[in-house]
Amino acid sequence: MANEIESGQTNLTEVVSTNNSVILMQDIGFSYGKTPLFTHLDLEIKQGNIYGLLGKNGSGKTTLLKLISGQLFPDEGFTSALGFDPMRRKPAMLSEIFYLPEEFPLPKMKATEYLKMRSVFYPRFDNLMFAQYCKDFELDMQQNLNEMSLGQKKKLLLAFGLASNTSLLFLDEPTNGLDIPSKRQFRQTVASAMTEDRTFIISTHQVRDMENLIDPLIILHDGKIIFNDTVDSITDKYVMALVTTDPQQDEKVVYKEKVLGGWMVLRQRSEQEEGNEGQPLDLETLFNVVVEQSTRVQGGMR
């Protein structure tokens, strides 16, 4: 068993070096008790991107992140994160992953004490960078952690995660609890912290908060990844348009939504529409389109 894993690890290291993949999941099965959540799930995450992980409530977004980070063990299948088997939770892997959960308690101590206690576990932690992020987020490092609001705690951990310079950063609903200016600051800070050798996965329901930040997108539905591609891959094939007549008869329409003044439709591009950018495709619509298509056609859009 150990040899299999080790050989798998070696193969995967090769995969990472050639395909630029940092996470690979093959044929993953996972259940909560007798209720299956994932069956034959496959996923590949490439380095240097800010992935958006979208899905309905209970679709398994947090579970997926926990499987990748070794907090949960799959019932079957093969998982690799940065060339490691996550189930082994090796320090070399853990020091390259930072996970910001949706909810978390923090110990009763000052932020400076917390920083001193925890940053030492991350070999590439940058104190100057952390100080800058704290300044951007208007955080007082002398404040006690138990006196901070949820939003302040979240910003502190986000600043910590970004300054840790880990290769993988998992953010689970990072904008929950943030005020409006902080959401903007969040987008700016994450974008500025992004480098070619880092990969972020942001799980969220608040797609409007993530507009222009996350791309590619991963969409989870019915225990499977039904979409793992860039927004461009959709806009290359489809065009968004506002029409005034009911597009019921139009076979090229894959999605329609009643709006003020008509229908917003997404239809397949015709040859005449090459180069026509159409209406901008927002993430919320894209999500709805992909999920609706997946319900109609088994396997979804890829």
Partner: protein
């Protein structure tokens, strides 16, 4: 500082406020106890004995130590929100386990001994000034304390296993399990004795009381077959049982995952 040292530091830093409060409470209890005894001694004309520290020490060593041990994994292994940070902390499962195990098994008894000694150093002169009592400092270098440390090591290992095995109510569930195990073993022992004695003495079997304690069983000198059994008993009790509990507890830590959180 190496990674294990950093983990030890994390454990101390995260619980230092609670432990400081505990140490202060302990000091106040000792002070109050000494003062009440002094009052009673003064007004009842009964001679003042030096037994306070020695009599309270086992209570704090065992009750406090076993409760702290039981709670040592509660947040990090079984709390829905608190588990994530510990699982994702860049260290091996063995290091994380040993950091908690070493602190509760070895650092706690040493710390509580130091607190008792320091408390006696502060309290005794005050008692001398207020009531004229003789100064009797807590002496940790006695055979009795050494035996208590050895027994604590055994029981701590059992509660360490309980801390990693039970998802909640660790302390009470461990006590309950020990109670059930004790009743089961006693019943088996009784049946065994009944059967053996029936074979040897037939129906003329008479019942009699056997009174023994672990102390007399393990620590009183003996020779011959009883002495050999006593050595085997000591090895099983002080070495095999704790090691079994520690190893089993470590395996529980190694296999813990998010679904274990409650």
């Amino acid at each position: 500082m190496n990674r294990f040292g950093l983990l030890i530091n994390r454990e101390i830093q995260t619980s230092k406020r609670d432990l400081s409060f505990y140490a202060l409470t302990l000091f106040l209890i000792l002070f109050a106890s000494e003062t009440i005894r002094s009052f009673v001694s003064q007004y009842s004309q009964i001679a003042f004995g030096p037994a306070t520290y020695a009599s309270l020490f086992p209570n704090f060593l065992f009750l406090g130590g076993l409760i702290i041990t039981s709670l040592s994994f509660a947040t990090d292994m079984f709390s829905k929100n608190g588990q994530q940070e510990w699982l994702m902390l860049p260290a091996t499962s063995l290091e994380k386990f040993l950091a908690k195990g070493v602190l509760t098994a070895f650092a706690y008894p040493i710390a509580i001994t130091v607190v008792f000694f320091l408390a006696s150093v502060i309290i005794e002169p005050i008692q001398l000034l207020l009531f004229g009592n003789p100064v009797t400092l807590f002496n940790p270098f006695t055979t009795g304390i050494a035996i208590q440390f050895a027994v604590y090591w055994v029981w701590q290992s059992i509660f360490l296993l309980g801390a990693t095995y039970f998802h909640k109510g660790h302390f009470l569930k461990t006590i309950l399990s020990l109670g059930i195990l004790g009743i089961a073993l006693a019943t088996l022992f009784l049946l065994f004795v009944k059967v053996i004695f029936s074979i040897k003495y037939g129906s003329s079997l008479r019942t009699f009381d056997i009174v023994f304690s672990f102390d007399s069983l393990l620590f009183k000198p003996a020779s011959g077959v009883i002495g050999t059994f006593r050595v085997i008993g000591k090895i099983l009790y002080f070495v095999v049982l704790p090691l079994f509990c520690w190893v089993t507890a470590f395996f529980r830590v190694e296999e813990v995952q998010a679904t274990d959180a409650v």
